[in-house]
C-alpha cells in the first residue's frame, strides 16, 4: 500500500507541487443496533482509497480516489496539484510548513481482543439481553443498544520522506431506555449518551458492566416521567464525569483549535473567544483547572501513534492552574502562529482533508470523591448524562441538558428531578469550578461523533474527567 501512497505523492510533485503527502486508508466499521430485543441493523462498511495533498506556493489542493491502482493514485496526485493551482487564484499569506521529524515507523493500538473477530452472535446476544431487561421495566417503551468498532489501517508517505504504517483499533457501545409520556419523553443512557468508546479491542466493552446496569437505567427513565421538573434559579452545580467530558469538549476543546482561532472555520464551525496574543495570559478558569491535550493516553479514544501529517502523538498543556497556555495545531497553522506543531491534524478516511482535531483534551484529576463533594454542598443539584448540547460559534454561550438530576441539600443527595438544564458563559463558568474529584473517579470518556469541516468529517476524541462542582450556575432554563 505504501506504493500507492508514493505514486500519489510522485503524481503531485510531477504536476508542480512543492510538497505532497498521501494516505492510503482502509477502514472497516462494524455496527450492530438492537431495539426491544429485535436486531435492527447489522452492518459492516469498508472504505478504501488514497487521498493526497499538494502544496503549491501557500495554496493547498486535495484529491481522493477509491481506485487503488498506480495509475489512479498518480492521477489523484496530479489532480490535487491542479486544485492547488486553482486555490492560488485566490491566494493567502505566505506560509512555510513547520518542520517535524521525518519518520519511518509503525504503530498499532494496544488491544487484547480483535473486535472484528469476536463472534457476531455474542455481540447480538448481549444487546438482546440488555434491551430485554430494560423493556421489561414497566413504563419503558423503547430499549436500544449499539456496539460499534472501527479498525483502520493507514499508510502515510510524504515528499519529505515519511513512511508510517498505523493500525488503529477502537471499540465501544452502549444502550438507552426511553419512557414515553403523554406530552414528553424521558431517556436514560449507559455508560453515557451515544455510548462509551475507547481505543482498544472488545475488552473495552467487557470492562463496562452492561448487564448489571440495564435494570437501574430503565427504572430511572420510567421514574423520571413522574419526577418534578428542575426549578429555575442559580445553584451549586455538580456534574458527573461524562457530562463534564462533553463540557470540556465543547467549551475548551473546540475553543483551543488553532484553525478556529485563525479564522479558518469562521463560516461554519465558527471562531473562538480566545485571541492568540492572550496565550499564556488569559484566565480560562479557576486554579483547580488543569487541562492537557494528550494523544498518548492508553485507552483514550483520541490516542494514536502519528497524526495525518506524520507528526508524533504528544502531550501538551492547555490550561495550567486556570491559565490558558496551549492550542491544538498542525504544520500550517502552527507555522502561521509561530508555534510548535502539536500533531493534532487528522482526516476522516482516505477521502477527507486532514484538519486540526482534538486528541484527548481532558482535566487532570483533583482530590476526593463525588460522595465527598456532595457532603460538602449546601444547596446544589447533581446532573448526569448529556441529553442536549448547544454552544455559540465563539464557544462562549452554552446550554446543556442532562438526562437526570438530583437535588443536593445540606450535604445529602435528595429527590430526583427531570428536564435539568444549565447555561453559562465559558470563562465565567470555569472560574467557578471549586471542587474536582480525584483519579479514582477519572474516566477517559470518548466522543465518537465530533463533527467539523466541509465536507463534514467525524472525529473520535477523548475527554478525561472526574466529577466536579461549580459554585453558582443558572439552571432550569425552560422553553
Amino acid at each position: 500500500m505504501f506504493d500507492y501512497a508514493q505514486a500519489a505523492v510522485e503524481g503531485a510533485l510531477a504536476a508542480g507541487a512543492a510538497y505532497a503527502d498521501a494516505r492510503v486508508v482502509i477502514a472497516t466499521t462494524e455496527s450492530i443496533d438492537v431495539q426491544n430485543r429485535v436486531v435492527e441493523s447489522v452492518d459492516r462498511t469498508e472504505t478504501a482509497g488514497v487521498g493526497v495533498r499538494a502544496l503549491i506556493g501557500s495554496s493547498w489542493g486535495f484529491y481522493a480516489t477509491a481506485d487503488l491502482t498506480d495509475t489512479a493514485a498518480r492521477g489523484a496526485g496530479a489532480m490535487a496539484a491542479r486544485i492547488a493551482d486553482a486555490s492560488a487564484t485566490v491566494p493567502g499569506p505566505k506560509m512555510v510548513l513547520a518542520d517535524v521529524p521525518v519518520v519511518t515507523d509503525e504503530y498499532v493500538t494496544p488491544h487484547e481482543e480483535d473486535p472484528l473477530a469476536v463472534p457476531l452472535a455474542e455481540k447480538v446476544d448481549l444487546l438482546v439481553e440488555v434491551t430485554g431487561t430494560m423493556e421489561a421495566v414497566e413504563g419503558i417503551a423503547i430499549a436500544r443498544g449499539n456496539l460499534t468498532c472501527w479498525v483502520t489501517d493507514k499508510w502515510f508517505v510524504s515528499s519529505q520522506g515519511h513512511r508510517i504504517k498505523q493500525r488503529l483499533v477502537e471499540s465501544g457501545g452502549g444502550y438507552d431506555a426511553t419512557a414515553v409520556g403523554e406530552s414528553e419523553t424521558q431517556r436514560r443512557s449507559y455508560p453515557q449518551s451515544f455510548g462509551q468508546f475507547e481505543t482498544g479491542g472488545y475488552e473495552t466493552v467487557r470492562r463496562w458492566d452492561y448487564a448489571g446496569n440495564a435494570a437501574r437505567i430503565a427504572e430511572e427513565a420510567a421514574a423520571l416521567l413522574g419526577a418534578p421538573a428542575v426549578e429555575e434559579g442559580e445553584k451549586q452545580l455538580i456534574l458527573e464525569g461524562s457530562q463534564l467530558g462533553l463540557q470540556i469538549h465543547e467549551s475548551v476543546g473546540h475553543a483551543i483549535e488553532l484553525d478556529r482561532i485563525l479564522g479558518w472555520e469562521a463560516a461554519f464551525a465558527g471562531t473562538s473567544h480566545l485571541e492568540l496574543e492572550r496565550l499564556h495570559h488569559h484566565r480560562y478558569g479557576s486554579e483547580v483547572m488543569n487541562i492537557t491535550a494528550d494523544a498518548t493516553l492508553p485507552g483514550a479514544l483520541g490516542t494514536f501513534g502519528y497524526d495525518d501529517e506524520g507528526t508524533p502523538a504528544q502531550r501538551i498543556d492547555i490550561v495550567t492552574e486556570g491559565r490558558w497556555v496551549g492550542v491544538l495545531s498542525g504544520r500550517d497553522s502552527a507555522s502561521i502562529a509561530e508555534l510548535t506543531p502539536g500533531g493534532m491534524v487528522r482526516g476522516d478516511g482516505h477521502n477527507r482533508l486532514p484538519m486540526v482535531r482534538m486528541t484527548n483534551v481532558g482535566l487532570l484529576p483533583g482530590a476526593g470523591t463525588l460522595e465527598e463533594i456532595i457532603a460538602d454542598t449546601a444547596d446544589g443539584i447533581l446532573m448526569s448524562t448529556n441529553r442536549s448540547w448547544s454552544i455559540d460559534d465563539r464557544r462562549l454561550n452554552f446550554q446543556f441538558g442532562c438526562e437526570i438530576a438530583w437535588e443536593v441539600k445540606n450535604g445529602r443527595k435528595g429527590k430526583m428531578v427531570r428536564n435539568p438544564t444549565y447555561t453559562g458563559i465559558t470563562p465565567q463558568f470555569w472560574a467557578t469550578m471549586d471542587r474536582l474529584a480525584g483519579d479514582t473517579e477519572l474516566v477517559h470518556w470518548g466522543t465518537p461523533n465530533c463533527g467539523k469541516g466541509q465536507p463534514m468529517q467525524v472525529a473520535h476524541t477523548g475527554h478525561s474527567a472526574a466529577p466536579a462542582r461549580f459554585a453558582k450556575v443558572r439552571v432550569g432554563v425552560k422553553a
Binding site: 441493523s41 479558518w264 455559540d392 446550554q399 422553553a479
Partner: protein, 440 residues
C-alpha cells in the same frame, strides 16, 4: 447497473437482496480570511448491499469494487445474515415498481465543473465585500446511482448539486449569504456576496437586548431549520410508530397558513426518484392549511403502521427512521421587506446556529442566532443586536395563530442539517422565546 446485477448474480437464490451502486465525483472549495485555504475533490464508487436469508438480515458497504473483493464482500455479508436471529419486522423487498414521473435533476455542466469554476465564484463572492474578510465554500457534485433487487426491481438515477455559502466579516460583525441549486449556473455569486456584505455592515454596532418573547421575522435559513427538525423528529414514521412524535394525522397542529410537502419529483429538487429500498419517492403532503396530513415511511415503518412506503428509506433509516428528500414550504405573497414593515417591535434573524432538541414530543429546541440579528421598530430595521440564545418549541412557533405572514421569497435555504433539503420562505411569527444573549 452492470455492477449491481453482477452482485445479485453472485448471490443467486441464496437470499433476498438489494444492491445500490453510487458513483461520481464531488468537490468543495473552501475559503476563509478572503483566500482559498482548503480545496478538495473525490471520486469513486460505493456498493451497498442488504440481504435477508430466511428472514435473517445483514447489510454491508464497500468502496472496493474489485471483482474478487466483491465476491468476498457478498460471502461475508451472507455469513453475517446466517448468524442473526430472525427479524420479525423484515418487510421484504420492494416487489413491484408502479412507475411514475421521470426524475432527472442532472446538469452536465455542474457535474463537469472545474476547480477554476468554483474559484471564480469564490472570487466574485469576496469582491462583493472588498473591505471585509470573506469565508465560506462553493461545492459541486454529480452522482449516478443504480439499484437492483432480487425481486426484479431496478432503477437508475442521477443528480447534480451546487452550493455557495459564505459570510463577510468586519472587525466586529458578520453577515451571511447562501444559494443552492441543482445547476451551478443558477448561483449568482456576486448577489450572495452582496447580501452577506450588507448584513455584515448592518451588524456593526450591535447592542444587547433583554431576553424575553419577541415577534420575529425569520429568514429562509431559519425556517428551513424549523422545517427539517419537524420533518426529522415529527413526520418520521418510525418515531411516530414509537410514540415519540408530536404528529397527529388529521389534527390542526399548525397555523392555517402553513403548507408543507415533500416532493422529489419537483423540477427544483436535488436527488433521485427512488429510495435505498428501490421504492419510488412519492410526493407526501405533510401539512395542509395547518392540518397534519402525512408521514414519511420506509417499508419497515409502513408495514408496522399498516401504510405504504412513501419511498423515504435512507442509509441508517433502520435505526433513525425515514428521512425527507425535498421539503417545500408554500410561499406567501409578500416580500420579506413587506413583512418587516408590519412589525411594531421585533427581531429579524438571518441564521440559526447549533440548534438541539430538548424533547422530541414538545419539539422544544435551544439554539442561537448568528451572522445577522436585527431590531425591528415601527416597521423598519433600526439597528443590529448581538447574537441571542432561544429556547422555543418549533411546533408552537408554527402553531395556530402564531404565523402572521409568509414571504414570497422561497428558495433552497441552508439548514442545521445542511443545504438543498428545505425550500423555505421568510416568515413573520407572533412570538419567539429568547432566553439570553451570547455573552451574558
Amino acid at each position: 447497473m452492470r455492477l449491481a446485477e453482477t452482485v445479485l448474480e453472485r448471490i443467486g437464490a441464496r437470499a433476498e437482496a438489494e444492491v445500490r451502486v453510487a458513483g461520481g465525483s464531488s468537490a468543495l472549495t473552501r475559503f476563509a480570511n478572503s483566500f482559498i485555504h482548503q480545496n478538495v475533490g473525490e471520486e469513486g464508487d460505493v456498493v451497498s448491499l442488504r440481504m435477508a436469508a430466511d428472514g435473517r438480515v445483514a447489510s454491508g458497504t464497500t468502496s472496493n469494487v474489485d471483482p474478487d473483493r466483491l465476491g468476498v464482500f457478498v460471502e461475508e455479508t451472507l455469513e453475517r445474515c446466517r448468524v442473526q436471529p430472525v427479524d420479525p419486522h423484515w418487510p421484504g423487498l420492494t416487489g413491484e415498481d408502479p412507475g411514475g414521473p421521470a426524475v432527472d435533476h442532472y446538469d452536465p455542466a455542474t457535474a463537469a465543473a472545474e476547480p477554476a469554476d468554483r474559484a471564480g465564484r469564490v472570487a466574485a463572492f469576496g469582491a462583493a465585500g472588498p473591505d471585509m474578510e470573506a469565508a465560506g465554500y462553493c461545492s459541486t457534485s454529480g452522482v449516478e446511482i443504480a439499484f437492483a433487487n432480487s425481486a426484479g426491481v431496478s432503477h437508475e438515477g442521477r443528480y447534480t448539486a451546487a452550493t455557495l455559502d459564505g459570510i463577510h466579516r468586519t472587525g466586529t460583525s458578520a453577515g451571511s449569504g447562501h444559494a443552492a441549486s441543482n445547476r451551478l449556473d443558477d448561483i449568482d455569486a456576486a448577489a450572495v456576496g452582496a447580501l452577506a456584505a450588507e448584513r455584515a455592515t448592518g451588524s456593526v454596532g450591535a447592542y444587547d437586548v433583554k431576553p424575553g418573547d419577541y415577534q420575529v421575522v425569520l429568514s429562509p435559513e431559519c425556517v428551513a431549520t424549523i422545517g427539517i427538525f419537524l420533518a426529522y423528529y415529527g413526520f418520521n414514521g418510525k418515531f411516530h410508530n414509537e410514540g415519540m412524535s408530536f404528529a397527529e394525522v388529521g389534527a390542526d397542529q399548525f397555523d392555517p397558513a402553513i403548507n408543507l410537502v415533500d416532493d422529489a419529483t419537483d423540477a427544483r429538487a436535488v436527488g433521485i426518484g427512488f429510495d435505498t429500498e428501490g421504492t419510488r419517492r412519492s410526493p407526501v403532503t405533510l401539512v395542509e392549511t395547518g392540518a397534519t396530513k402525512g408521514l414519511f415511511h420506509d417499508r419497515r415503518t409502513a408495514a408496522q403502521a399498516g401504510a405504504a412506503s412513501t419511498g423515504h428509506a435512507a442509509p441508517g433509516s433502520e435505526v433513525y427512521g425515514p428521512v425527507p428528500s425535498a421539503l417545500f414550504f408554500a410561499p406567501g405573497d409578500r416580500s420579506a421587506e413587506d413583512l418587516i414593515e408590519e412589525v411594531d417591535r421585533g427581531i429579524y434573524v438571518a441564521t440559526f446556529n447549533y440548534c438541539r432538541v430538548l424533547d422530541p414530543k414538545t419539539m422544544a429546541v435551544t439554539g442561537l442566532t448568528r451572522n445577522g440579528t436585527f431590531m425591528i421598530e415601527n416597521g423598519r430595521i433600526t439597528g443590529a443586536v448581538t447574537g441571542m440564545r432561544f429556547t422555543q418549541s418549533f411546533l408552537a412557533a408554527l402553531g395556530p395563530g402564531n404565523v402572521l405572514g409568509i414571504g414570497n421569497d422561497a428558495r433552497w435555504a441552508d439548514s442545521e442539517f445542511g443545504p438543498l433539503i428545505v425550500n423555505a420562505p421568510s416568515m413573520w411569527l407572533g412570538s419567539w422565546h429568547f432566553t439570553g444573549g451570547t455573552e451574558a
